[in-house]
Amino acid sequence: MPPPAATGVKPMRNPLSPASLLEGASESGYVRSLIAGTVGMLALLGVSGLAFPDSVAGDLAGIVFSTSTATSTARLAAPIVLAGLGGIFAEKSGVINIGLEGLLIISAFVSVYAASVVGVGNAVLGVPALAIAFLAGIAASTFLSAVFAVVCIEFKADQIIAGLAVWLIALGLAPFLSTVFFGGVNTPNLGVSVGWQYSATMVVFATAGSWWLLNKTAFGKHLRAAGENPKALDTVGVSVSQVRYAGVLLSGVLSGVGGSALALSIGQFVGSGETMVQGKGFIAIVAYLFGNYNPLGTLGAGALFAGLDAIQIRLQQLGYAIPDTLVQTIPYVVVIVVLTLVGRTQIPEAAGEHYETEE
């Protein structure tokens, strides 16, 4: 009998061995190299910053290692990470959801609308307005994701195109409804806001919960199987459709949390142009691809992008004579460079495919 073909190359390891969380995060060499690269860069920056405190490196180090940057990162990362986690569930189940941006937009609007209807300070059945706002935002996003799920799973729509449609619909619908309700594409300000600590807490819980759900529960295994080899799941009697519905709906729920948190942190929905979501849903996709479908990796990637943005904001204020608009370009260039260096991420084998049970 021939020995296993590849054992000598890739050490057999059990991804679920009772190892540390960090072990789970570095599920592949890909994530490991990302982590190593990031840590290395930071170390380099720290050392050169200490060595030459008055140089660019010193300034940069001062920015990167400040608490202000850290909290800023936490705030900016929330919608990206939450939507990114949602994206993992959908894509792991085999449905690529590129409509995350749309889900963020619709939940951002609906949460503000719901809060204004209830009236800030009021409560319905003892539930305070802001909590209702969150629930409403989540419900809206989940509903839209359910439409997406039906269209993709029931009617076998092309996932990429249906996802684009979700984005376009939300991009039109939110300002449309805002105009109908409030007379303009931007809503008035609620006058209250949800502190970033709440968002950050939600991010932590959502990340940990997602990690648990994906790696420790039966559902997580079914999800993975639905995305890798739906037939294997089907033949053991688990409905692929149901698992995929669950995956897509979860993407709606998580994006709903993200969108609501985004709007409620300001207390207002801004619907002009690209809306206040400003492409965060697309960055979320990049984040979970970057994080290689690992919730912790996604958290890291989201933090990376948000951190770059936070640094960018602070760099501007140092008054280097670089045009601000160019500084704003840095995160995008970084994404391209990193993607070029690390190359492909592992798309689930059956993602994007329709699955039909035989008869």
Partner: protein, 438 residues
Amino acid sequence: MSDSAPDGDRTESLLARVVAPFVDRSVAERLVISVAAILLSIVVGFALVLVSGRIAQCSTAAWTMPLTGIGFCYDPIEVYVVLFNGALGYPFAVGDPGLFNPAWTPFNLSFGLTLSETTLLIFTGLSVAVAFRAGLFNIGTQGQLVVGALSTALSVLALAPLLPAGPVAGAVLIVVGTAAGAVGGGLWGAIPGALKAYADANEVITTIMLNFVAANVAYVLVLEVFRAEGSSVVATRYVPEYAQFPSVLFPPSTDFALLALAGGIAFIGALYYFVEHTSLGYDLRTSGVQAAAAEYGGVNAKLTTVRAMTLSGALGGIGGAVWVLMSEGRWMASIPDLGFDGITVSILAGNNPIGVLPAAFLFGVLKGGALEIGFRTDVPTELVAVLRGLIILFVAMPEFFRMIGRYTGVGGTAGGPGGAASAESDASAGGDGGEADA
């Protein structure tokens, strides 16, 4: 799909699977589904207008529902009359005796605007379509258009003083400017192509990122270097009048030139010929539907990827050139989202170059009609954006319409537009037969 499928083809075959249903579907069925999708989105939009017309507050009812006497702030019928009739400049005399408006000429402002948008969308639609055919999802047409437009504006502005003003110089400048746009956009498009081919970087992500980069870099360049003296907006100087596409027949304010539209149609023909009747076109679309088979057939996958993205970018760049030389007369920040609209055009067209023409026209109508809606009615113009999204959503789910077709016994291709419409009414009426073979 077999176990032996090489890992290296995963992304390619994934894309191929995504793209495949959109390139080989029979044209007739495609047409029926597109029309049905448009009709269905109109129906949904109708309901949306009704509901929001009940929610919004106004002093007088724009429309009263027959029989019920319930008043609505928005008139859902008028919305569509204004949308489609208005986009053409009101050729139909709705409500008045006689079908046609006798004073109507095609060379009116609204129709000109519609055609102007159509022309621009032809180029961006072709740009997305050609990449799609090669199995590449180019979200970056917008960035390629921005870069192309800037190349056009700068090259024409640089060259104009060297030539004696006049129609000859105009022709030269238009040709050079368009070529510069193609080169600029093509090079910008080649970047994600090369990254995809040689570094395996997902082109969806890189093109999205490059859109931001293009917008920001072009903005800074114009703001800091090429801004017109004294201008308070971020824009270059205007290119000379004679170097812009002349508006023949249509009022100059339409920003529409028949010549540019003719150029767009010529490009459609050329691209169709390229894809269907040339060896390189065969390489390109074979890579799109089945990358592994293309490689087997001696197609250099990497080169084809770069080629397709370059061609796609060049088309986007030409779109930018036309925008500069026909619409705006200069490069200006806040370029409209023609590149993103190109994605929707291409999808509606089934990524078929020929289909791009009607699809671009439809979105041109939606654009022209949106302006009319904003102007004539109280309905927020974002309605049209919602309609656009719905059309894309419905076009993406042909299975839904096939199902309706099966339930109602309406054949896939027999009915044409009418067939699809009756398919829906039949479905609500209960359907007759055809259930047995489900």
